[in-house]
Symmetry: C2
Subunit: 577 residues, 2 copies
């Protein structure tokens, strides 16, 4: 089978071909020494048009960038790094991928067994490194002498298994570890006989038994139902089917901002405020049955309401993950709404005023929020509102955790269904947000990121990918000089310690950051300026600094809640008195 270089080239080419056949089209590589043959042969595959290769030197950012690609494309993404702490830097994004069921295939290169545990540099316990955060771990055979057919066949089989695991619902990250011996240089001119095709897979569809269908018909037909639609999870695209079922049943959808449902005719965007005011509502809003879809809701008030509901909750658990920390589920169907709801297309709807009653209430709350949100001076809910109203059609809005996603939950009320809202809403970290948004931007059009100054700073290195790959992203940095979210938590009352341990003012010079990355930059203070920039749909990396007062956050929150409570009473007196 020839010399060491031939063997190395053959095995690594075989591994990469198997990954390509299994559906890997995009790769994020962080350069290093041990990964040399993989890197060079990936470069060759890119030249041959077989894959799209991104290079990102900060592995933490690289993994989040890959997460963004996978989120936006719905396809598994390969991450490749060298041995040592490089691999440990992937960890936050791997946990997020595990939490939101994003298919990542992590290929770490390693030193061979005979260099483990004896003080060799950059040699860690990689096989156990990702602990329970990955769905599967596979130690690949190190290229060695012999004819290698058994090793190649094994690698091809394991790669198919690993990528399948990553892409089977619930999707998630898998880990391949490849020990490599020196010399590490492959022969790029070598002609390699590669694995030819994958095992053919027969597809199945879940169908309701007639008993199950009868049971659901009894539960749903003619009933006053509510659909509580959580975030899109696991790459499922359910929005159209959920919306159609809601129309058919005359049921309202309380739609999370990440559900993909806002903008559909029966979807309401006011769940957070509505359930905060639940105690004031008359009994004619009481549902007889609740259908829950998607992942954990952004709105805490909706989760609290679910925990105390009095109707049965049927959870369409599309990712089979039992995600329900309201503990409100009474029945569970382990399938996606898009698979189940069309099988119920002949059910009788609820009475016509049922949905109308909710729509009217929701419109009232929306009007109150409009009036109560302050645009002079521009505050945090105001920023979220201006963004929500001015996004172009087909825009993708990536939203940071912490305050931005909460404000978008309240303010985002589109009239169209083509705006996509995304967020790392699984582990809910403020890390890797710039990178994930840029990964998304590498796949989609009209990209916006809405983020606070802390999260923007946390992933400062991530912005490099925008300059390197000429990505279009307009970053709206809501700069309140620190951790605004803590101001709405009880510790805000503990004034002596607050600013020191929670306020965390960074006094960021955002213009210097823009300068560093050759980004367009502007600092604005009014709603009009913000609306103008968003509507311009800027190209390249644009950083828009919106200065808002942090100290005002608790007052704004109280103000909105009080406004809704007050004026809702008038509405109810008029309509349900």
């Amino acid at each position: 089978m020839g010399n060491i270089q031939t063997i190395l080239t053959n095995r690594v080419s075989g591994l990469l071909a198997s990954l390509r056949h299994s559906g890997i089209k995009q790769v994020v590589l962080s350069p290093g020494s041990r990964s040399t043959p993989v890197a060079i042969l990936l470069g060759k595959m890119q030249d041959e048009g077989q894959i799209k290769l991104y290079i990102d030197v900060d592995e933490r950012s690289a993994a989040f960038f890959g997460l963004g690609i996978a989120k936006a494309s719905g396809q598994p993404v390969l991450l490749v790094c060298t041995s040592g702490t490089a691999a440990a830097n992937y960890y936050p994004a791997i946990w997020e991928a595990d939490s939101t069921n994003v298919p990542l295939v992590v290929l770490t290169t390693d030193r061979p067994p005979e260099l483990q545990e004896i003080g060799t540099p950059q040699t860690l316990d990689q096989p156990k490194m990702y602990s329970t955060a990955v769905k599967g771990f596979y130690q690949l055979p190190s290229p060695s002498a012999g004819d290698g057919n058994a090793e190649l066949a094994y690698t091809d089989y394991i790669v198919q298994k690993a990528v399948d695991q990553a892409c089977q619902h619930p999707c998630g990250p898998v880990h391949l570890n490849l020990p490599l011996r020196k010399p590490l240089m492959p022969d790029v001119d070598q002609v390699v006989s590669l694995p030819e095709q994958n095992i053919f897979q027969t597809k199945l569809t879940p169908v309701l038994t007639s008993a199950a269908k009868q049971h659901l018909t009894r539960l749903f037909a003619g009933k006053k139902g509510l659909i509580i639609a959580g975030p899109v999870q696991d790459g499922h695209q359910n929005a159209a089917e959920i919306a159609e079922f809601a129309e058919q049943m005359n049921w309202p959808i309380l739609a999370d901002p990440l559900s993909g449902l806002r903008g559909y005719s029966h979807a309401l965007s006011t769940g957070d405020q509505l359930f905060k005011a639940w105690d004031k509502l008359p009994t004619d809003f009481q549902p007889e049955v609740i259908v829950r879809t998607g992942a954990t809701l952004v709105s805490a008030s909706m989760i609290n309401w679910l925990a105390n509901k009095s109707a049965p909750v049927i959870y369409l658990d599309e990712d089979c993950s039992w995600k329900d920390h309201s503990l409100s589920t009474t029945e569970r169907i382990a399938a996606a709404p898009a698979q189940i709801l069309p099988q119920l297309s002949d059910l009788k709807p609820a009475v016509s005023q049922w949905f109308e009653r909710w729509r009217k209430l929701s419109r009232t709350i929306r009007k109150i929020l409009e009036t109560a949100t302050s645009f002079h001076p521009l505050n945090e809910p105001g920023v979220a509102s201006v963004i929500s109203k001015n996004l172009p059609a087909d825009a993708t809005l990536f939203v940071s955790n912490s305050m931005p996603i909460r404000d978008i939950d309240v303010q985002f009320d589109p009239q169209i269904t083509s705006t996509q809202v995304l967020c790392n809403r699984g582990a809910d970290g403020i890390d890797g947000v710039n990178s994930t948004a840029l990964g998304v931007a590498s796949q989609l059009q009209n990209n916006y990121l809405y983020i606070g100054d802390l999260a923007f700073f946390h992933d400062l290195t991530g912005l490099m990918m925008a300059r390197k790959y000429d990505l279009d992203l307009t970053v709206i940095v809501q700069n309140n000089d620190g951790g605004g979210i803590f101001s709405i938590l009880p510790q805000y009352q503990e004034k002596t310690q607050f600013e020191k341990v929670f306020g965390t003012p960074l006094d960021l010079k955002i213009s210097a950051i823009a300068d560093m990355y050759d980004a367009k930059y502007c600092k604005i203070t009014t709603a009009g300026e913000l609306a103008d920039i968003i509507r311009q749909q800027p190209h390249g990396l644009t950083i828009v600094e919106v200065v808002v007062p942090r100290q005002a956050v608790p007052e704004q929150q109280d103000h909105l809640k009080a406004a809704v409570a007050d004026r809702l009473q008038e509405f109810l007196d008029e309509n349900h008195g």
Copy 2:
């Protein structure tokens, strides 16, 4: 025992008091919501002068900053963060602490058991998160009703155990996970009865048995010995004892730049070049016995030489970690040199010309290196040389992995012993270097960092701590616009793929970075300018950009090696012909 707040305050105060009694004096906190009671009570302890508290919003940087404090102070450092991916960001520094035996106590706060695995935000498998990277994991009891005495006593005991584990050789990281329930606000005015004192520990000293002493006497007395001194490990301070033993025995010390030994009378700094030229040396340099101390050597040529040595190697394995990937050890003593060598103070030395022969050879190599290193135009070995020669007394030089530590290995030849050289030389990552250097700078005086542009960029957020805590650090950024180290590896020959997958040019605007952090900045090109700045001992954060050509790296390396080989022959012909 009172209400929930009283219980919470009592338990968390007790935990922190136990940590303080066990030796925690410095804490790095990354703010978050779940860690609220710990954060607030740490703020109170700082006000009372019981601890020094640092706040760092990027947990990856925070952990490396804590690593730097622990490295420089020799004391265990406490890291505190909230739940979720925050904890995962600590991972790279935890692996480095595990690899270099640095005592870190990681306190992650968590959601309580009843919120695990059901889709609660920011809830990951924290108990298994750090896998095999930590020496111990302890799940602390969540504060709950009852008199709490048993919980407090248990926490006090476990904290003593955990901190002891972190500080027992081999030192390393330990993990405490604290589940907390809402409400999370403690009462800062509450008077708490705290654990009073630790279990008294009786100390032991390892003493050689008389048989062992006889055996070592036979091995060492009158023999031509070499001491190969690797990096200081595990907080051991062995330099004085090793140097004294070398003088007593008339043996040379081949001293790694991280051994703390360079500058001592019998320590030689030319090991890397010397062993590269070993084949040319006459047999009168052949040692009869080799004593190895410390961790894995920076110099690959010294490791290769050890692997092929013909004399017995006695490894004083101070951190009991069997770190010897040269596999050259023939005998092993599981104790620190400072414990063992003074017990051999009556041994007869080697013949007097033995050390003189090595010293003369080493001086010759040093002179050749001086002549062969180019300062016009300034190149990478030149930068390392200028830094080495101009550091003030009592300076601390933190060196990045990749090329800087290799160049310092060759060029650092101090005449004094008070310059300290530090590096994250365990997992050998280029991550977290700025942060570790700043952690060190928070403890010591006259701090310098020598780093390449990739590593500097990788930990860009880490620089924030300099501005926030007014730390003095002069950062010498050797800017070769990319990954210079790859140019000395075989892949440099693969020109088609090289620049794309290894060169990784970032085109960093270092002046914008300096602007962002309010750092003093200058860009220099000559040895004289660099020497001037180093000698000025600047205050605050100073960023010195030294532009060097990346493409020249392989030529420089070849040039130095060839120069030594050539001129060494002349010297040997004259002296050993």
